[in-house]
Amino acid sequence: MPPTFESCASAPQPMVPRVTPVTRFVRESADVFTFDLAPGCAASFAPGQFNMLYAFGVGEIPISISGDAQAPERLTHTIRAVGPVSAALGKLKAGDRVGLRGPFGVGWPIEEHKGFDVLLIAGGIGLAPLRPVVYWLLRHRAAYGRVGVLYGARAPDDLIFRSELEEWRRTPDFQLRVAVERAGPEWAGDVGYVTPLLSKLRFDPADAVAMICGPEVMIRATALALEDAGIADSRIFISMERNMKCAIGHCGHCQFGPLFICKDGPVHSYASVRNLLACREL
């Protein structure tokens, strides 16, 4: 009998993790992995939202959902192992369990921008929070104008979602440009910083919306390049991660000026945070 999924809307308190089994584990690169969770209920989420994942006995971290928002029975997360919690999550295998809270936060404003050209710019693991937007666009392709994806990574071996990148590259009406910072002679693609590739995409800046996810230094440089290309700062959106702990705006760890990253974000319009990004005391 196929599993049935009750709604998570009536889930218990947001601070209480649900013990959740890992159903699939995939290694994307040397330090990046993807796993699916069976949430036990239809955990509907919006592209750009995140969950809190708890590695028992080690700690809890915020991780953006990297799967398909229209397949909510499978919660997918893609993680780079760089610290103790993410390293512990990287040792899981199918059948192991994690603590799950969420989904939390404000996602990408993709439904609100039907009819627009859409540009997605990702750096490193930043492609993971944008992948749900790609799925959305592929499902609703006719509702949008031109679509362009720029993806930058350290080296060819660090690229994630490789088979999907090839699918996207072959998709008609879908512009994909990938750049790595360094590569051996076997790499035939672009080498360099990702932002200059903007000039290779076709879009109408007056009718374009852009979404950026990556390290903050890349976000700042990319947002300025998008403005230089003629896109208004109110139509540039960024996803941020700064010290999120409770995920519901209570603890204050992720306070960012008048905002809480976890509750008011992680997706923000660039217009609303550009001055805050320049403030080093925050």
Binding site: R80, R154, R182, G184, V191, G192, Y193, T195, G214, P215
Partner: protein
Amino acid sequence: MKDIADLLRHHPFAEGLDDDTLALVAGCAKNVVLQPGDYFFREGAAADAFYLVRHGAVALETFVPGRGVFSFLTVKSGEMLGADWLIPPYRSSFDARAVELTRAIAFDGKCLRGKCEADPRVGYEMMKRFIPPLVKRLQSARMQALGMYDAADV
């Protein structure tokens, strides 16, 4: 058949350049075609030319002993290739290898430097075209040097 001035006129480098200046600098230029794997220039060799890429892609590379050849930038259609011809001792700092069939306009560096020296107006027009891509590449190189795709340690 297009002459070299026609080819140059259609390259972004020449945007806004008046006909006289265009004809003058075209006198230092020729059309070149490189096959995949051919080198425009090699590290340490005399930097006596620069190129405006018309079609194709060029990998800028350097060799790291024990690790092999690394590419750090791809130069593509509409872009400029080579800057070492601008400053003494006019020596190439890295390799430039065509990664696909590449067509480019090649400029004799000494010839063009001479025309810039002789007519500062021409020199200024050239400088306005060389500096922006060089500054953008410097900015990009800084970003690459920061290793900005590394994540926080959570």
